[in-house]
């Protein structure tokens, strides 16, 4: 006769989601709602050049947030209930809750600011513009990493693209040559990455980190010794114009985002779709992903692992190079040192945050652009928060999103590992 043993406690699924939802709900209800500002927050929807005017959205600060707070409290309660039944909340509900939280936050700050109006349409359009180089950079990352090569060199590819685009566009007086040259420059950076990491099996991270320094050094050096000597000749790039698609571009909110872009802006949307479609719907993509997941298996099926990697890395370089040309062919009028300003690293984060999926990376880059532009707009309308803390916002939002909502993300299994036969 053995002693009767007490069963240990029953363990339920993680409390993370319900806790986060509850915290959010309480913040919205109490802080944004009850203690919030009773002024009305105005959101302008239209911008200059729209075909027709949309009404301004007006939210009375306190009341709106109390209502949103109640809804969020209900969602939180629902998620606790589900958890007690060992079930999980549907993803779309989490999405809606996050959206409501952002809305509530906007209502709260705007209703409490010096100026209680912001233009939603320029908030979104600006977010896209700030995201353009990030999107190209992250697509480059996706292309390389899906084939199994870590791409830390995105920053260098962007910078190289920006420099070359400025130089070639200035010298040829033709923006498209600049665009092409930027792609080639990005590809050159990639070729070094490919040569060293694939042929000479140097640690991919080493090569990437070093390439960033190398490109920064070369462009800085040439900027001083060549461009600065005669900026008129070498650093006055011809620009890619913004092409507004007649009719469509006049649709409020959507028009400026989708149909009032430079060639590079349109290319961005195309590139995101093409890379996504290519990776997940075509023979090429299947092979690329196979090589990134399990190169040996791909090899046993007659797929040339290193050749695939080589071309993918090169392609990634072209994409990032084109993204870099955005700085000098669209955004501003000339090249300066370090013009990419660390955006390659944000793009890298977007790759991971977007789970190595082109669309995910695109959305992650947009989120970042959104937070960045919002931060600027909020300092413009005047908030009590010191500007340095506002400037932290995009980074804090990313940390929160990654740690709080996304969690563990699994990359291609063989990323970073060189493939050597025998």
């Amino acid at each position: 006769m053995t002693t009767t043993l007490q069963p240990a406690i029953t363990i339920l699924p993680s409390k993370k989601t319900p806790i986060i939802l509850s915290v959010i709900a309480v913040i919205v209800f109490l802080f944004f709602g009850i203690m919030g500002n009773s002024d009305v927050a105005h959101f302008k929807l239209d911008s200059a050049g729209d075909a027709f005017a949309l009404p301004e959205l007006a939210f009375p600060g306190k009341v709106s947030n109390i209502i949103i707070g109640v809804i969020l409290l209900a969602v939180a309660a629902y998620s606790w209930m589900l958890r007690s039944k060992a079930q999980q909340l549907a993803t779309w509900i989490i999405g809606v809750a996050s959206g409501l939280f952002v809305l509530s936050f906007l209502i709260w700050v705007v209703s409490g600011a010096n100026i209680t109006t912001i233009s939603l349409s320029s908030l979104l359009a600006g977010a896209v513009v700030l995201a353009v180089p990030l999107v190209f950079g992250s697509l480059s990352g996706v292309l390389c990493e899906r084939s199994g090569v870590v791409n830390i060199a995105i920053e260098g590819q962007l910078l190289g693209g920006a420099f070359t685009a400025a130089l070639v566009s200035s010298m040829t007086k033709n923006a498209f040559f600049g665009l092409i040259a930027a792609g080639i420059a990005g590809a050159l950076v990639s070729l070094v990455l490919a040569l060293f990491s694939i042929k000479y099996v140097v640690n991919q991270i080493i090569v990437g980190v070093v390439l960033n320094v190398l490109v920064s050094g070369i462009t800085g050096f040439l900027f001083t010794t060549v461009m600065q000597e005669d900026p008129e000749l070498y650093n006055s790039p011809v620009h890619l114009p913004v092409i507004a698609i007649p009719g469509l571009s006049a649709i409020p909110v959507i028009g400026p985002i989708l149909f009032r872009q430079s060639v590079i802006g349109y290319l961005m949307y195309i590139a995101v779709f093409v890379v996504w479609f290519g990776l997940f719907k075509t023979k090429w993509g299947l092979r690329v992903r196979a090589v990134g997941e399990h190169p040996k298996a791909a090899d046993t099926l007659g797929i040339k692992v290193n050749r695939t990697r080589f071309w993918n890395v090169t392609l990634g370089g072209i994409v990032a190079g084109i993204g870099g040309s955005f700085f000098t062919l669209v955004a501003i009028d000339s090249f300066t040192k370090e013009i990419s300003g660390g955006r390659g690293f944000i793009a890298l984060a977007a790759v991971i945050f977007g789970r190595w999926n082109p669309i995910g990376a695109f959305l992650a880059a947009l989120l970042f652009g959104f937070a960045d532009n919002l931060q600027v707009i909020l300092t413009i309308i005047g908030t009590p928060v010191p500007s340095q803390f506002m400037a932290m916002m995009p980074y804090l939002v990313t940390i929160f999103a990654v740690a709080g909502l996304v969690g563990r993300s699994r990359g291609p299994a063989s990323v970073g590992e060189p493939y050597v036969k025998e």
Binding site: V129, F327, A391
Partner: protein
């Protein structure tokens, strides 16, 4: 090489040197203008020059050491970050001369000449003009980083706008800077030009039609944004800083209302010229409206767009400031 003229050849053993801060000599701001001053001195006075860019703070002392090794007669250092290093070098090399741009020591040092500017005075005039020419009743300014040499522009600009509102009973709004709170909109660095462009677009979307970027090269982003907006039907203008943008940033001629000028190049050249003649003094050089060390640039192409009344009022304000009847103050103004 061309034959050097006799007068210039006399100075050919004089070495003038310059050390930048981490912005480098291409920062389209104070490093660049100071550097230009040195280059002008080379051309005009026939002296030899040496220059050293700093990449990071720890380079300052080393660069200054290097300059001492290169036997510089006078070394110009740019920016408050070099203050301690310059003081150090000056103490160790009492026979050598130094000039430091945009920094004032609490205790004067006998072989260091501070070159500083009461920039707020000029920015005040620009703010007044901006308010007077704005059609939308909203003007804006933003900075690169929140440091006094930047915020002094923004303070003066803010006061100028306020003055206009006060005198005219108007309510022209200023975006991007709250003088009382000493806080506002910054791009975070002096590099990301596209960020500057986006900031400016946001200003325009919020109704501003005059924008003054105080952010070195990032200012170009503002120019690009305004040009783009104007193409789409806006009618916005740019106020440049540091030098006359009509001349130094000709890409933006067509939108350049005016500029807030700090004549660092001239000051640097003057200090060197004095030293070459053996007339070095460590008394601070303070650029003011009075000595035209700071000023607002001519309106150039916008001359017709600024009303005669406004021009007169600005002239009067300038007069008053020079006379001392009108005080323009900023927490960042040079201490008397």
């Amino acid at each position: 090489a061309p034959e050097e003229s006799g007068a210039k050849a006399e100075n050919s053993d004089y070495i003038g040197c310059i050390v930048s801060d981490s912005g480098g000599f291409d920062d389209q701001s104070f490093n660049e203008s100071s550097y230009r001053g040195l280059q002008n001195a080379k051309k005009d006075l026939g002296i030899q020059v040496r220059d050293a860019e700093s990449k990071q703070n720890s380079d300052f002392a080393r660069n200054l050491d290097g300059m001492m090794g290169a036997n510089c007669n006078l070394t110009v250092t740019v920016g408050f970050l070099l203050a301690d290093a310059t003081a150090d070098a000056a103490a160790k090399n009492p026979e050598k001369h130094f000039a430091i741009v945009d920094n004032q020591y609490k205790e004067p040092i006998k072989n260091v000449k501070p070159i500083i500017y009461d920039t707020a005075q000029a920015a005040y005039l620009a703010g007044y003009v901006a308010a007077a020419t704005s059609k939308t009743g909203t003007v804006a300014t933003f900075g690169g980083m929140k440091i006094p040499t930047v915020t002094i522009f923004m303070d003066g600009f803010a006061d100028g706008v306020a003055k206009y509102n006060e005198d005219k009973g108007k309510d022209v709004k200023l975006l991007g800077w709250d003088k009382k709170k000493q806080d506002g909109t910054f791009t975070g660095d002096f590099e990301k030009q596209d960020k500057g462009k986006q900031v400016t677009k946001n200003f325009i979307a919020a109704g501003a039609d005059v924008v003054m970027p105080v952010a070195g090269p990032v200012g170009k982003g503002a120019g690009a944004a305004i040009q783009e907006a104007n193409k789409a039907g806006s009618d916005a203008m740019l106020v440049w800083v540091d030098s006359d943008g009509f001349l130094t940033a000709p890409d933006y001629k067509d939108i350049m209302l005016t500029s807030v000028i700090k004549t660092m190049d001239k000051a640097v050249e003057d200090v060197i010229a004095a030293d070459v003649k053996g007339e070095f003094s460590a008394d601070p050089y303070v650029g003011t409206l009075e000595n035209t060390g700071v000023d607002i640039a001519p309106f150039h192409d916008f001359d017709s767009k600024v009303s005669e009344d406004t021009k007169k009022e600005v002239a009067a304000l300038k007069e008053a400031i020079i006379k001392g009847d009108l005080k323009v103050e900023s927490p960042a103004s040079p201490k008397k």
